[in-house]
């Protein structure tokens, strides 16, 4: 009985997988599970931003510049280099100046950091974030409000409020909240954790960001440009096709653009908010507050691409402006080709150094003397 059962079993398995097919079936099965595991891994690392940022398997998205990343035009491919000199640091504990910056990507850690300033303390906070700070009254506390031109309108449309000098108020939950509001509030908190935004973008960069794939992307971008005279909509070419700009700063229909009209009344409002912000932070204990509007690349290199609104000049030269400014616009305009990266919206090392020199050699030196 046992023998006949095992025979039956064997014959069954032989019917399903004849001997010659067994390696093929195993191979297919192995292939299936390998693909499944790879797909699960790809999904996991893209789905959870923490895994994505900690997995150093993938090349940096921005290694050839943010404009290249948006356009993949090979003529604008240029590897970005760090401007920091290895081992060189200006940070100085004996300096009488503490420097605080509320700024954007121009002043972010990868471009500018503590070692670039001759100060004893340095703190950078992005416009999107808030920070609680304690000022050291034995030092000169300097605050710089840094904004790229395309975002300046938003930043100056209200009083700056990113730094809180007083003790932070604990965000205690109101026990009188209705059950429905508690649910909604709880969901709003948990939702971005459960469904983090940006999965698609992370997957795209994970899969297609290797140099090998960039070749295909460049081919497509080149083909679209040559054949259809079309580039990716997030970028705009200059008239001579030698410069590439970010759409937000160069498309005249976009509210942030250098070519979007700005009324005098709006300029008055920006100046009022800048003054009020300065007054507020001076009262809070800062010794100086400076305004630094970094010009858009297009405003310096191709102001003829539309009707330039001269935002920076109109704010900086406004008769009511009480905030001292760090004026890079005037310097950059004298040599438009010198201060920006070819494949990026940001400044190059020369542009960055101009800005740092003004801060280190004028502002910090002056304030050190004042103390």
């Amino acid at each position: 009985m046992g023998l006949s059962n095992s025979n039956a079993l064997r014959s069954k398995s032989e019917i399903r997988h004849p001997k010659s097919d067994i390696p093929s079936v195993m191979l297919k099965s192995a292939l299936k599970y390998t693909v499944l595991l790879v797909a699960i891994f790809l999904w996991l690392q893209a789905y959870f931003p923490a895994i994505y940022s900690n997995t150093k398997l993938f090349p940096d998205d921005y290694r050839f510049g943010d404009l290249y990343r948006l356009s993949y035009l090979p003529q604008f491919k240029e590897r970005t280099i760090a401007c920091h000199e290895e081992g060189k640091s200006l940070a100085n504990d004996t300096s009488q100046v503490n420097l605080y910056i509320i700024g954007d990507s121009f002043a972010e850690e990868a471009r500018v950091n503590k070692t670039d300033f001759n100060t004893s303390k340095y703190l950078y906070t992005h416009w999107a974030n808030d920070a609680y700070i304690q000022l050291d009254s034995t030092k000169r506390n300097i605050l710089i409000l840094e904004s790229v031109e395309r975002a300046a309108k938003e930043h100056l449309s209200e009083d700056v409020d990113n730094f809180s000098i007083a003790k932070p108020i604990k965000n205690t939950e109101n026990p009188n909240l209705s059950f429905r509001k508690k649910i909604v509030h709880g969901w709003e908190e948990i939702s971005p954790v459960l469904f983090p935004p940006g999965t698609e973008e992370r997957l795209e960069h994970t899969l297609f960001n290797y140099d090998f794939f960039l070749w295909f992307r460049e081919l497509k971008a080149k083909m679209n440009l040559i054949l259809f005279d079309r580039i990716e909509p997030k970028v705009i070419l200059s008239k001579d096709k030698k410069h590439l700009y970010y759409m937000e700063e160069a498309d005249s229909t976009h509210g942030r653009s250098a070519f979007f009209p700005v009324t005098d009344a709006q300029i008055d409002t920006f100046v009022t908010h800048a003054n009020r912000s300065r007054e507020k932070y001076l009262k809070a204990g800062f010794d100086e507050v400076y305004l630094s509007i970094i010009p858009n690349k297009v405003s310096v290199q191709s102001p003829d691409l539309g009707k330039y609104n001269h935002l920076i000049e109109r704010i900086q030269n406004h008769s009511a402006l009480e905030v001292p400014v760090i004026d890079t616009y005037t310097i950059f305009k004298k040599n438009p080709e010198k201060y920006y990266l070819k494949s990026d919206t940001h400044w190059n090392c020369a542009g960055r150094n101009i800005w740092l020199d003004i801060i280190n050699q004028q502002i910090i030196v002056e304030n050190n003397l004042k103390k």
Binding site: K32, V35, T199, E200, L219, F228, D229
Partner: protein
Amino acid sequence: MLFNSIHFLIFFIIVTLGYWSLGWSGRWRLLLFASCYFYMVFMPIYILILFFTIIIDYFAGIYIEQSKGSNRKLLLIVSLISNIGILAIFKYYNFFNTNISALLHLIEVRNPAPYLKILLPIGLSFHTFQAMSYTIEVYRGNQKAERHFGIYALYVMFYPQLVAGPIERPQNVIHQFYEKHQFNWERTKSGLMMMAWGLFKKVVIADRLAMVVDSAYHNPSEKTGLSLLVATFFYTFQIYCDFSGYSEIALGSARVMGFELMGNFKSPYFSTSISEFWRRWHISLSTWFRDYLYIPLGGNRVAEWRRYFNQFVVFMVSGLWHGAQWTFVIWGSLHGFYLIVAAARNKYFPKLVLPENVFGKAINLISTFVLVMLAWVFFRAKDTRDALLILRKISFFSINDSLESPLNNIEMLFSLGLIGLLLWKELKYFYINTESNVRFYSLISLVMILVYFFGVFNTNNFIYFQF
């Protein structure tokens, strides 16, 4: 989750390979979980609305089956009201409220009902209609009430057709969830090829044409008649490629797992009459309205005037189903009007009916296409004022008008070539044969290369997602 995203590509690989690695109970659980995830990627909180209707309809189905007499009807009504109620709140409340406010404003009375700041859950009209078809079929005795809650939930939520159809019938789908499908390579190839062609239609044709359409319809007052005419012509194919492309990806992804969903399109622009067009366009919706609205209203077995009235009502409701805007109501009503005029012509002016020869068919085909195309103006325009402006400008267009387009001449010709390719494939009923493995691998690689190099990946969303 969008079908034309890398996220979907990874999702599809995981779900499909996972599906073929599991037994029956694992499969339906995986599909249900995956479908929830697929939906929640758009707007997680709205899954609760889906679950609400699923629970109501699940129990309604069982109680309808168990009840007799007036109770059955009562339970059906409760189920329908809960489904339609959700649609009414999320989709139509603000529309009707705004219109009531406007009417009350005429007699200087303030409408006390507030405007609700709510977003329309994606694909709500689709899964509500699919859920309603279940309880109606159970009520009619054509479908046994589903006792397995997971399977019923999967019937409503099955990811390929969750957000934009096809609107399935329970008789066609539920039994398929019980079958333990065996992997079939031929079916897989056919499904994958269908998906690839659907993706081609969406990203190569529809999204390219969309650039011209969006530019013209964004500000029609600044565009010439010729530009608007070309944009409307392009929109006629954009919406077809967008929606039929979606349907093909849906059908293909279901087929790869062994499921067969109903086809939604049969070369609609080769119709020689409006009634034929509606037998070929969005078939799952038009048959839904036929089965659950037109026939219950009396169908063809009523007086002539009543039949015309019923047809008009059905098409008007169909327009409203698409969106809570007067433009959609007018679009639906216009189709109803076309049908009534055609029926009246056939009856009272038979001499006006063209002969069934090549010439007659060609005239009918072109005139049907033009009527459908002009109706799309209302479907696409921001509001009725824009739609009327566009129609006025189109009717006075001149060949000497400048053609304003974001595409250069080469790309305009390329777009026309793509439309030609589409029509040729449909005219010849060209079926991409995938029996030979070599041919399959070559063709799918070719299609994917074309999708990559000629695809436009900026516009993303499918038009029918908004409904």
